[in-house]
Symmetry: C2
Subunit: 404 residues, 2 copies
């Protein structure tokens, strides 16, 4: 029998069942538990524990001692404390859009949460050309509520500073600082560039001094701008979805950073799905994704401003023109981060299946060039993106350069 109080160890499937019996009152006494490790992420082991009799199930997510993405990243397992706290907080701020949290265990560095096996990971679903007409509404609510309600606009400033303090997250931030803001923009050995795109990457990205200067500005803003409690990794692989439900998972990168970071990640990852659909999907999938990108932006703006009027506690937040100035700055950061994400997923260490699954090499290279062209445009001209239509237009124009 494993003991769960003496110190941390990495569990196997049997030990995850023992842990469930020892620590949780979730299942009935006569439960017949089975367990499978289903993790395909990079940082954690994920166990699904099911009671064969009742059909009830839970997920146990345990931090490995070393991030699985690469042995070069050493991560403190404290990130699962951050994850359980933030899921509880997000569930209060935007109820219904994150999995329920049942238990957090600081010794085993794991948390136990709602099983979402009736949902599927959004990236895979989009690659199968499924459509989710409620997604733009759901994700814009989630982002407007979590981002506005944790900012100085809507929180007591002392209370907000205590939250900033408890979500300082040096190790996970370092991963983003390196993989998103730095390595993709020079010929870094850790990059992973598709041969068919290499010349284009060198000329169009690495040799552009104006572009690298902008990435430096953005990196320093990412490191210093404690604006909102952001998810920090809000791509379509961090979203569980089904027709009538959207659940945001994996908030272990959460910290106080620029609000536009989350919105930009959602936009960029919808663009990867859009580019995938351009070459592999029916034209109505392309239209659905373009419309969704546009709606995410416009609904986010609308909800953010409405929440501002209901929730602003800060006197100066009600000064004429400030609301619009503030929202503009979030849209500028949204464009910039969408651009960074579009570049880093093509050039850097961590790719996305939407693009790597395109088998024909010339087609894949074309898809990558569309992403990089849109990405650079978003970074360099980030001040100009104000509406969903502005974003959709930049994507269409980049696509038009390479596809016919």
């Amino acid at each position: 029998m494993a003991v769960f109080t003496d110190g941390y160890f990495t569990m196997n499937e049997d030990e995850a069942i023992e842990f469930t019996k020892a620590k949780l009152g979730f299942f009935p006494a006569d439960a017949e538990l089975t367990c499978k490790e289903i993790g395909d992420g990079n940082l954690n082991y994920v166990f699904r524990v099911v009671d064969v009799n009742s059909g009830k199930s839970i997920i146990i997510k345990q931090a490995g001692p070393v991030a699985r993405i690469s042995d070069e990243f050493k991560l403190s397992p404290d990130r699962n404390r951050i994850e359980s706290e933030i899921l509880s907080l997000q569930d209060k701020l935007a109820p219904g859009f994150v999995p329920k949290m049942y238990h957090y265990d600081p010794i085993m560095n794991c948390c136990v949460m709602e099983d979402l096996s009736d949902h599927e990971i959004m990236r895979g679903a989009l690659m199968k050309h499924k459509q989710f007409p409620l997604f733009a509404d759901h994700i814009s609510t989630f982002m407007a509520q979590t981002l506005l309600l944790t900012s100085d606009v809507a929180m007591g400033h002392k209370e907000k500073k205590e939250l900033v303090k408890s979500f300082i997250n040096p190790e996970l931030c370092e991963i983003s600082e390196d993989l998103v803001y730095t390595e993709p923009f020079y010929d870094c050995p850790r990059n992973d560039v598709f041969p068919g795109s290499r010349d284009f990457v060198r000329e169009f990205i690495w040799e552009d001094r104006k572009l690298s200067l902008e990435t430096a500005k953005l990196k320093f803003e990412f490191m210093a701008n404690a604006q909102s409690l952001i998810h920090g990794d809000l791509h379509t692989g961090s979203i569980f979805i089904k027709e009538d439900s959207t659940k945001v998972i994996d908030p272990e990168f959460a910290f106080y950073g620029p609000a536009g970071y989350d919105v930009g990640n959602v936009v960029a990852n919808l663009i990867f799905a859009y580019v995938n659909a351009l070459f592999t999907g029916p034209s109505d999938q392309v239209e659905y994704l373009e419309r969704t990108i546009s709606e995410v932006i416009d609904l986010f703006k609308e909800k953010f401003l409405a929440l501002w009027d209901e929730n602003s506690v800060e006197r100066t937040a009600r000064y004429e023109g400030f609301r619009e100035y503030y929202l503009d700055s979030i849209l500028r950061d949204t464009a910039a981060v969408a651009g960074l994400e579009l570049c880093r997923r093509i050039i850097g260490l961590a790719h996305v299946k939407d693009i790597t699954s395109i088998e024909q090499p010339e087609t894949r290279a074309m898809a990558e060039k569309i992403c990089l062209t849109a990405g650079k445009e978003f970074i360099l001209n980030r001040e100009l993106f104000k509406t969903g239509g502005d974003f959709a237009k930049a994507i269409r124009q980049s696509a038009a350069v390479f596809s016919k």
Copy 2:
């Protein structure tokens, strides 16, 4: 006999002597100690303990349970932990420009430090029209070293985030947020407006919607931009000076904020001395102060850039053009904060003697209008201030409007 281990209480002079004997090995065994409470600040009790035999002396600074500035501000006595840690850190970053720290006592909430009684408070010295030719050199070194060396330019980003965390300072920041960024810019009951300036304040400051919008932007930057470990209250009342020595004291407002905040406070408080000298001093004092303001900016820039080249550890910090972009942003914040300080010391709760000591009411009103005119110019046109000469010119022009 008082006991210093059971719990916090506010000491009197006799108890400060007992504390010295019980806790410190600083004085010889046969010392004959005398003590006087010499605090004139708002937040602390300050005891000077002297050995009549050896002439050796120390300062004990004890946090009162309530800030003395007003019963409305309730402050945690933890600020003296912050003070002792930051003085030790500043002494490493910029040796010789802060008092030596001998002891910190977490129960009594006090710290024991070097006695600087052979120095004088700079504000008073400038009002006596003394000149300190080394000041610009000293303070620019102090600021360049403390501000650059605690930033993401020159620190490991993980290490910097741990510092951000340990210097989160909600209560003292709230004072600045209220008294510097908010109350002076509307007709707040807590303001203290000189009758001869009231009409001007209403029309020129309170009724200017463009100005209030800019203060909102600046307030949100102050609350979110964790750029450098700043002193946070670097006015001429926080500087002990003598001909060959400059010591920065009272860092209890320290936290990670915009680097330009400290530089702007130094500039604004030199401007108060300049305006005082305009009406009460010899013309060479006016020239000395104008030259000093200009030198503080230009020497800060020069030293900051040199330190950047020697100490930058961040790859993107070396991208072409980034160093200049970053320094420009600090100068912009410097101008903005100088402007806020110029307004808030005239309109808000906490005034400066440089101005309030001007006895003739018309002259005082004129002095105040010069400060407010320069202040508004600095805030509205903050992007345009790039050199010491730019700052000096704005001051001269504001003075020329009202004095002849």
